[in-house]
Amino acid sequence: MHSVSQLAAHGAAPRPTSPTGYQLSLHPEGGLLTKGRELDLSAGDGIAVELRLSTGIPMQFTATVRWVREREGQAELAPGAWIDFTDLGVAERREFQRWLRYFRASRGSSTVEVTLARKYRVRHRGPELSVWLGGRLESGESEALRGQVELALDSMRGETLALLIDASEFRPSPEDSLTQLRAWLEEVAAQFTVLGVLVGTRSVGNMQFARLAREAELADSLVSLASLEQARQPWAMILDQVYAVEQVAGRSGSFERNA
């Protein structure tokens, strides 16, 4: 039987850390994000960063984590994550690069303090796929999330999928964003026989997500539960069933290895 903490780890719910105190070394396409020893990010995570400059005017970017540098084995380097900005159009990117050249020249450094908001996290292993959603997702963020799910689906074999969606922190999002969410749910439904859990309280955001699940023909495949605590037992039973059907080894302890 899996413990709740294991489920939370696999379910990709990030550990709550303060959104402040991050340093971002800016580059034209993104940058290196650091925060002492606390960094809790994984490759593929979707985030939003906000820079507040001396002018007081905030600059906001959405980004995807390309890679993460762990502390182990690299004691001389602080843990860090490279992030790629995902929402800059060609003209905005050109303007940002111009601004960055000016900023670097005037400051002698391109490192700035940023605040960070977590937006999504996708994890997969064997026949298990978990998606955590946080806050309001803008269209570009949902599109990037869809790309992460599609990458995961491309690497998954078999016909049956254990799907864990943690939407407990998902907030109502605009319709073009929902279109992107619906699209990957439809891809999941088209490719796999799904047994899954949808975690979330009866918030408006969760009701919105439940509607998407219905529209994507996944309503029969999901049981909705208010919390990870409630989801623990059904999720363990779903894993039993899916691993038995897929006849793949390695279920036991899978959460730890995925954490």
């Binding site: 047994l195 495949s221 999901l222 909705s224 409630q230 037992q233 059904p234 069933q241």
Partner: protein, 136 residues
């Protein structure tokens, strides 16, 4: 004597998930995958409560409820409709056919167990105990 619950759904994954949610409740669980099979099984086994999907082959859930309600043996049997459609007309159609309660898919696991317990006449503290057991 343990209570018997009949789950009716053409989706095997939906049936599987519902059975999982009832696994620790001690109910005897029967399943059927269409309205006609549900009526036949209900007549054979006289379940204490029925959980009925709406959209099904051969005989849909609404018509199955009408058939069951026309039979004096099932006039008072609690029937919970589980539907993917939450529009008012769909819910009203279910109530007009004689269903006792309804839920929308994706169904809420804890709510399903709580509704079943309540319609079977268990007291609130027993409902809580059973729901807690499911969560444990």
């Amino acid at each position: 004597m343990s209570k018997t619950v009949l789950l009716v759904d053409d989706s095997r994954t939906a049936l599987m998930l519902q059975k999982m949610m009832l696994a620790k409740t001690g109910f005897e669980v029967l399943t059927a995958t269409d309205g006609r099979a549900a009526i036949d099984l209900a007549k054979q086994r006289d379940p204490d409560l029925i959980v009925m999907d709406v959209m099904m082959p051969k005989l849909n859930g609404i018509d199955a409820v009408r058939h069951l309600r026309a039979d004096p043996n099932f006039r008072d049997t609690p029937i919970i409709m589980v539907t993917t459609r939450s529009e008012a007309f769909s819910v009203n159609e279910g109530y007009a056919a004689g269903c006792t309660d309804y839920m929308t898919k994706p169904f809420n696991g804890a709510e399903l167990v709580a509704k079943i317990n309540r319609h079977l006449g268990f007291e609130d503290d027993e409902v809580e105990a059973r729901s807690t057991e499911v969560r444990r």
